[in-house]
Every structure is written in C-alpha cells, then in structure tokens.
Symmetry: C2
Subunit: 202 residues, 2 copies
C-alpha cells in the first residue's frame, strides 16, 4: 500500500529555534524541504531550485493568479510564496515535506490542504526567548523587544495549530517532530485503504 | 504545568491481539487499566477492584441511571460497564488510562469524552487473522468463521477511530501506542495553558 507523504508546516516566533530544527530534520534524510518562490534577487551563493525558485514580479503574479501557490505574501517589496507543484509531487512520491513559514501563511496552506499538520515551535518562556535573542548579539534591544512583542502576538494563535513543541534542545524537538509524523501516519484518515488491504483486495 | 492524563480506548476484533498488547502497556507502568463493573459472579481467582467491580443487578442499573458509567452493555444476561469515577480520577492525577472495549462501547465513550483517543488494533489481513484464530486450537471452525465475519463487520467502522495499528508484533504495537500517546500529549488542545506558561503567569 503506497502511502502519501505528510505535509508538516512548522512555524514559530523569531528565537524559537525553528530554523535549526528544520535543518536537522532535512539532514536526517526523512524530509523534503519545500522550496519557496521569490521575486527577490538571488544572493551570490544562492542557487535556483536549491535555495529559491527565482521569478520576475510578472511571473510570480501569474503563478498566484493561476492558483499555483499554496500561500504567498509580500515583504520589503518582494513576493515570497510556496509553489504547489513541488510539494504535491513530493507528497505523491510518499515523501514527507516540511514547510517553514509564518503563521498567516501556515493557515492559508492548512485551508487548502486540511490534511497538513501544523506545528508551532516555541521557546519555553519569554525570559528564555529574550536570552536567546540577546545571545545572538546581532540586534539592538529595540529590535529584540519588537521581536518579543511579535512572539507574544503569535502565541495567541497557538491554539489554531495542531501541535505545540517547547524547544528545549534541538535534538528533543527533532525527535518530537518525528514522533508526531509517526503517529500521524497511523491516523485512520491517512489509511483509507486499510479495509481493502485487510480483505486482501490490494 | 500539571497535565491531565490521556484516555486511550483500544478496540480490535477477536484475534487482533489487543489483550496481549494492553497487558504489556499496563506492565510498563505507564498506563492505568480501567476496571469494568459487572453483574457476573466472580470467578475463584477474581478480586474486587482488581479484575472487576462486582455489583448486583440493582446496583448496576442504579449506576447506569445516575450516569456513573461511561458505557455499558449486556452480554449473556449480565451487565458490563465502565465506571466513570475511576477513569476520571486517574486522568486528573495525570495518569494515562487504557480502556479495552468493543466498538459500540468505544463510540459511547468518545461521545462523552471527545478528548479520548480511539485506537483500532487489527491483524494485517484476513489470512493472518484466520491463522491466529486457528492457532489457538480452542475453537471449532464454525466459531472461527463467525469471528472472522464479525471482524469484517468491525473493519467497516475503522474510519470512526482516530488511529489504526496493524499488529505485526506485540513489541511494535506497544511502541506504536506509546508513540501515539507522546504525539497526543503535544496537541495544542491538551496544552491550553501554554500561552500563560510562556508569559510566566503559571
């Protein structure tokens, strides 16, 4: 019985550590990473189809128009979005796909693909979050406070997610996500052929 | 943050191996086993509050009347049911509870306690099921065929369960159930206080 992959959507406030967790999951070889489309210019090290799919503004708008994007948003005068075809292809091949996007995008995808799994990753508490953001040493305190108040806002939406993970350590969060995927693969809604299989019809 | 336990309801056709799997889970010390109430006479080795809560017919009917049972049914002129108080007490103490009941009872409990988790355990296929039932060597072929046709009927209801586990080996099924419990404990619906915890309010 060939099963479809599972689409995981991972969100979390700045400082939640989601980037590192997602990288580790992709490294494990058990997940495909969804590649975003953007109208932003490629940076020196960025490759087409690896870091992003690069498009002109017109191409991007045409994709959105034709419903070829699972979600999209504009940020600093550039568009960013998730091409549907790549995600659907991976899922059809039975691969689990991971999508790291912010909350509004996450809800857009969930609406289009209700069988996707929304995971919210968070720092244990606001004190720890402030420590992590400060520890980076890259941003001044006003930026950090802005990120914290944004995190507070995002936390209000956590109940709209399916699962919440407190990111104490990267290793634990990676294991937690794998546990969620294992459990989800046993959901009856993802095993609609089980009855036929039992009867030996497939 | 003190969390409530999770109520697992495990069903599965005769020959699915659910009895063995449930025993192993209880032995692991991570699960309380719900104890049924019955009007049947205790057998020699059976102890009150260990194997069953034994009641008279009148007592049992009064319990049902007062809504003190999560589900009940009559079988061979005796009543069998699940006392609510014991299950609720264990859950409140943060213990996971396991309830091994047949399909109709499972749906009754799910209706009363929607946060419970329905797990259907099954043999990989009908050929294997027949082999297992025959292997017991305790029943003649007409009884076995009856059990198989009953299993076929129960399989029609599998989609009403949350999860389905193909019981290849006892060890794997035990691990599968533990995986489901771990994932369920990360559900946002079971972590409604997470926002307060994040803000340091609790």
């Amino acid at each position: 019985m060939k099963k479809e992959g599972i689409l995981l959507i991972v969100s979390g406030p700045s400082g939640s550590g989601k980037g590192t967790v997602v990288s580790k999951l992709v490294e494990s070889g058990e997940f495909c990473l969804s590649i975003s489309a953007t109208t932003r210019k490629p940076r020196d090290y960025e490759e087409e189809g690896v870091h992003y799919f690069f498009h002109t503004k017109e191409e991007f708008e045409a994709m959105a128009e034709k419903g070829e994007l699972l979600e999209w948003a504009s940020f600093c005068d550039n568009y960013y979005g998730t091409p549907k075809a790549y995600v659907e292809q991976c899922l059809k091949e039975g691969k689990n796909v991971i999508l790291e996007i912010e909350v509004q995008g996450a809800f857009q995808v969930k609406e289009l693909m209700p069988e996707s799994v929304l995971i919210f990753l968070m720092a244990p508490n606001v004190t720890e979050l402030r420590k992590r953001l400060t520890g980076r040493g890259t941003e001044d305190s006003s930026v950090i406070e802005k990120r914290i108040s944004r995190a507070m806002e995002e936390m209000e939406l956590v109940s709209k997610y399916d699962y919440v993970i407190i990111n104490d350590t990267v290793e634990k969060s990676v294991e937690d996500i794998k546990t969620i995927v294992s459990a989800e693969s046993m959901r009856t809604s993802r095993n609609s052929d089980i009855n036929k299989m039992f009867k030996g019809e497939i």
